[in-house]
Symmetry: C2
Subunit: 215 residues, 2 copies
DNA sequence: CCCAGGTAACCGTACGGTTAGCAAACTGAA
DNA sequence: TTCAGTTTGCTAACCGTACGGTTACCTGGG
């Protein structure tokens, strides 16, 4: 005997599932068209409901954007934690963090790295984001300093290096195509390898000349 | 005797100067707030005129954005031409192109790399942009292939490398601060060196650990 | 009966763009 | 030199519309 509750999702589960679907759709729309150009009517239509229905799940358009950022940074810190737990040199920790971050951002958030729309946040949300984002960037800079100290990363300006790395990563949302030839796995590995080569203290083995053939 | 025309700018010159000032202000506003969030009223106010005055210089807001992109790509092709004229290996040509592009984008366009707002272009303008931008990206990929062939650049996926490079470069608009400690010269040199290290076939000398102290 | 999930219709407003009109400045003929 | 006539640069006021958000109402399950 199988209880219905094990098969039929509860109301709360349904609610949460729809909430997540809405969030992903919003993230996708914000990334593709920009926050202001993506209308709630569009998003609702894609989900097969009317705009008013969305307000059962989110209090405002800005709340959607706020949550997109929150999720992205959550993924970032998760990557940091995993990398720290895994150990290794500063360089290895940096690589592990970036690879995880990239992979999750591409895959989980429906191919969306929304972090290009932070100027659309409400002022209050913006200062909140800044605090968390600065903490993330500081942590990355610390990994680079750690790598310089342990000899795995070439001496460089950690601030500039992190800016460069994050630029390359967030730019993925501009060119990645869910239905293209490049998989999320391939891209996150290949891009991490490229960035690794930029900061590695020791010469790096040759890179794949075609991403599709990479493991 | 000095002719007035040598001292007092002609009406045409005044017109052109104001046009350029408007373009720079628009580029700055688009970069800071995004295309949709930057209102013409805001831009006009910063220039000390009313919105209606702007229409003496540009037929529409979209025309402003279109011209921003046109200028940026002009700078890109100019950099390519200079680098080709200067000669050297594929790696050297790539570096020269990127350094020039970065420097001009930061300096000339009033610290603005607007190329993050292409989804705000009108459909017709967008396909036009795509054509020119693809030509630019193809040219950069060719430089990388040239470098791989002549042994100056490590074998890698040229497409991914160019995406990564352009991401890092265009991201500058997100963090560069005109009144900050880093000069346009320092940033364009240091960032080019970092990206060079990523693709260079041979090990690169140590990088400056603080951009302000770099030459 | 109550409440979650949804719809249709509506409201307010911000903003791109237009229009009418004015003042200064150039132009050219007398 | 002057002075009408035209052009340019600009303002104030307005229009249309797209869109975020709200309200009133319907439906079906617990």
């Amino acid at each position: 005997m199988t209880a219905w509750s094990a098969v039929v999702p509860s109301r709360d589960e349904l609610h949460e599932a729809k909430r997540v679907a809405l969030l992903r759709e919003a993230a996708s729309a914000f990334t593709r068209k920009g926050f202001h150009a993506a209308s709630l009517d569009d998003i609702a239509q894609k989900l097969g409901v009317t705009k008013a229905a969305l307000y059962h799940y989110f209090p405002s358009k800005h709340a959607l954007l706020r949550e997109c950022f929150a999720r992205a940074l959550e993924v970032g810190f998760q990557g940091l934690a995993r990398a720290r737990a895994q150990g290794g040199s500063g360089r290895e920790k940096l690589n592990n963090t970036l690879r995880f971050y990239l992979h999750e951002m591409i895959d989980e958030l429906s191919c969306c790295v929304v972090l290009t729309e932070e100027n659309a946040l409400l002022p209050d949300d913006y200062v909140d984001l800044l605090k968390v984002r600065d903490r993330f960037e500081r942590a990355l800079r610390d990994l680079i300093r750690e790598g310089i100290a342990d000899g795995s990363i070439v001496p460089c300006d950690p601030k500039l290096a992190v800016f460069t790395i994050l630029g390359a990563i967030h730019w993925v949302s501009k060119w990645f195509n869910q239905s293209g030839a490049w998989s999320a796995d391939a891209v996150s590995t290949a891009l991490t390898d490229l960035l690794d080569r930029m900061v590695s203290a020791t010469p790096v083995a040759a890179l794949p000349t075609d991403i599709r053939t990479a493991t």
